[in-house]
Symmetry: C2
């Protein structure tokens, strides 16, 4: 993962450059997204921010994340039920998703570029984005009946 502190500074710089204001609530969201490897959900981020700012609203979390998406400082991983976010690596990359505990992990795969080339040549598409998800059971969930934790 990228250095969380560095990522936070990058995010702050981006927002300042674009003349967006750095409110305490926003800063709290940035910190969480910059440092998390667990691909937080909106709800999880909301609960975490509320520990510091109990009056924070869900709408503010949504609005802040929408802003970060707009300036490409967070990657949204959309599922039909809800979305998960990655502010540490805000660019497309493969994910391993545990169907039981909902953990999301980033494997370093080699060869995805080759597939992208093939796809381009076969279809003539001008590719601007991609998404590769593997679904299954993580090592922990293969063994015990681990609790379902949705980050």
């Amino acid at each position: 993962m990228a250095d969380p502190h560095l990522r936070l500074q990058e995010m702050i710089a981006k927002l300042k450059n674009l003349n967006f204001r750095l409110t305490p609530q926003r800063l709290a969201v940035l910190k969480i997204l910059a440092a998390s490897t667990n691909h937080p959900s909106v709800e999880w981020t909301y609960e975490k921010v509320k520990r510091t700012f109990p009056t924070t609203s869900l709408a503010t979390i949504y609005k802040t994340i929408a802003l970060l998406k707009e300036v490409n400082e967070v990657l949204e991983i959309r599922f039909s039920e809800s979305s998960r976010f990655d502010g540490n690596k805000p660019y497309p990359h493969p994910h391993m998703i545990c169907l039981k505990c909902k953990k999301i992990q980033d494997p370093d795969l080699i060869g995805l570029e080759k597939l992208t080339e093939q796809a381009t040549q076969l279809t003539g598409f001008q590719i601007v984005d991609h998404r590769l998800d593997f679904f299954g059971l993580c090592p922990e969930c293969q063994i015990k009946g681990s609790p379902t934790v949705i980050p």
Copy 2:
């Protein structure tokens, strides 16, 4: 693509074997999903079925597709906005998705198995499903301002 007539027969056989009833509405949905290469949405399927059965309800389309998902005779491609379906190839495969006209196409890519193996070995996940989507502009949409058609 698989032979649409054959696919329809397979779907019918599956439902009969499991003692589900073959209503005219259901049959209409099966026909559409077995024969379509455009990865229909629920809404598109609904409009198409209504031409033959004007009193059909959206709920029936949803219920029929849910049934087909349950017996693995249709692949659901979920997006946060809505889902698209493939009854012709009801198993995981890569998709090319045009961001403009919403067309979805199936490229025959070589090498995805290698990535799956890598992912398994790197993470220890027991993989049961995957999804690979490429997003971009199809050849038509790269040129003209083609109309946005959502199947």
